[in-house]
Amino acid sequence: MIRIKCPYCGLRDHSEFNYIGDATKLRPINPELANDDEWFDYIYIRDNPRGVHQEYWQHISGCRSYVKVLRDTVTHEVLKTGLPSDDLLFSYEAEK
């Protein structure tokens, strides 16, 4: 069981959440202007890092918030959690 801290509800089992996936993927802000590559990248391509991964989990059995989670894909350790607007990677690196 991975324990994830929902910014609202606190530390919970990951089975209360739905895994959504890579949170670094940003939907083109101006969908019209984005080119094919940007769309292809957004929908299909993944960094898939071995190590720190910034990802979304939805607290589906809790407050239903989308929670941003910084997690190590090798140890499964949850390094940081926050709101969708937070850049966890940045603050994690900064703290290091």
Binding site: D13, G21, Y44, I45, N48, R50, T73
Partner: protein, 418 residues
């Protein structure tokens, strides 16, 4: 190198088994290879074997960071089948199945390919419709398939839950009799021995750590045992594809996820087929050693840890007991995980890459063990000819961009929906 046979067994028994030769050498890496295959799993080894055998290429190395066969090849539930619906998959996997049928002979190594039949159960009308479509397509592709109704399933596999207490009733199933299981380790070992005999250098404990490129070509493969020059490079590293690609600054339509598997204490034969559950993620067969080998779904989150977590185990076992209530008192002795290269449509990617002399063999998801000989066959062809074989032409890397995903179950570009 001596041939394996009953006779050789007897002969060696008399000489106290002192004369068996090494199954493969343990060579020092050379400075340069025409072709370097990264990853000594089933796919990498088979590719090297067929490169040497079918295409007469001699100067080949397979580099392996750990021990050969220790990746997903050594940790999968060994189901071999070709019951796919979409032509791109079906024809490829059928070729693979045909190769399986000859493999022990071809390798002179008993890979224990056991065509005990693979039965996919259906627990609802819509699942019956789905397996009907799949089975019909298989038949039109020349692949064996039979549709069983509830009564026929019960006759074949009486220990499934046919009682009123089953939450989801069994409606029927799709049977592929030619499907079955194989001894996973033996597949890696057999291909390793075969490739080694054809002169391929299999270099274990040799991790690829980076690349030196020139133009759009890889020139040097950096390893934990020093740099090695190369003509062409093939990736066959399954779950590590994303990580290795990142060394080239290359990103792929792949996520790595962990898939777990389980084995029970050894039992006298009770489960004679491979059976998969329609209403939940569960599949089971019995190994020749007696352990019930079973598995379920991926753990759902990106992972490079070769280990899983309990919630999924609970789900898998719960589905197992829903299908076979009599498992309840049997005990699990071990569970483990493998890192899956989950592609965005659930189908593999075998073909050329954006880099000129690099070839990709990845995206195998849950299903690449059965592909082993076929994958080696077409990958060897692709590398040797710098062009795909007709069987992997549709399984290219570009298909996502152009809207030609090969999506067997319609899950969309979300790896955990396949």
């Amino acid at each position: 190198m001596s041939k394996y046979s009953v006779l050789s067994l007897i002969k060696n028994a008399f000489s106290d088994n002192k004369n068996w030769e090494r199954a493969w050498r343990d060579p020092e890496p050379k400075k340069y290879y025409d072709i370097i295959i990264i990853g000594a799993g089933g796919h990498g080894l088979a590719s090297a074997f067929y490169l040497a055998k079918n295409h007469g290429i001699k100067n080949i190395a397979v580099l392996e960071k750990g021990y050969l066969g220790g990746g997903n090849t050594g940790r999968n539930t060994t189901i071999v089948r070709s019951n796919y619906m979409l032509d791109e998959n079906a024809l490829f996997y059928e070729k693979s199945l045909k190769l399986w049928e000859q493999l022990s002979h071809e390798l002179n190594f008993n890979v224990m390919f056991s065509q005990r039949g693979v039965l996919n159960l259906a627990n609802s009308d819509s699942q019956m419709d789905a397996i009907t479509r799949r089975g019909n397509t298989m038949r039109l592709n020349g692949i064996d398939a039979e549709l069983l109704d509830r009564r026929q399933v019960e006759k074949m596999i009486p220990y499934l839950d046919f009682s009123d207490t089953a939450r989801f009733q069994i409606k029927g199933g799709l049977l592929q009799r030619r499907g079955g299981t194989a001894r996973h380790d033996a597949v890696a070992w057999g291909f390793a021995r075969g490739a080694d005999q054809l002169g391929v250098d299999i270099i274990q404990n040799c991790e690829v750590t980076g690349f030196k490129t020139k133009g759009n070509n890889i020139e040097i493969v950096e390893t934990s045992r020093g740099p090695i020059g190369c003509g062409k490079v093939g990736f066959a590293v399954a779950g590590s594809t994303g990580h290795l690609a990142s060394k080239l600054g290359m990103k792929l339509p792949i996520e790595s996820h962990v898939l777990q598997a389980f084995v029970s204490e050894p039992l006298k034969p009770v489960i004679d087929h491979v059976v998969t559950f329609g209403a939940g993620h569960f599949y089971i067969s019995q190994s020749d050693k007696g352990g019930l080998v079973f598995g379920g779904d991926i753990d759902m989150y990106n992972s490079y840890a070769q280990k899983g977590n309990l919630p999924l185990i609970e789900d898998v076992v719960t589905a197992g007991l829903a299908m076979i209530p009599g498992l309840s008192r049997l005990r699990i002795v071990r569970h483990w995980g493998g890192i899956m290269d989950m592609s965005m449509d659930g189908s593999p990617i075998i073909g050329k890459s954006p880099i000129d002399n690099l070839y990709l063999n990845c995206g195998w998801c849950y299903g690449g063990f059965k592909a082993t000989p076929g994958s080696g066959w077409v990958f060897a062809h692709t590398i040797a000819n710098d062009a795909p074989h007709e069987l992997n032409a549709g399984l290219n890397f570009d298909r996502f961009r152009v809207g030609r995903s090969v999506d067997e179950n319609g899950g969309g570009p979300i790896p955990n929906r396949h």
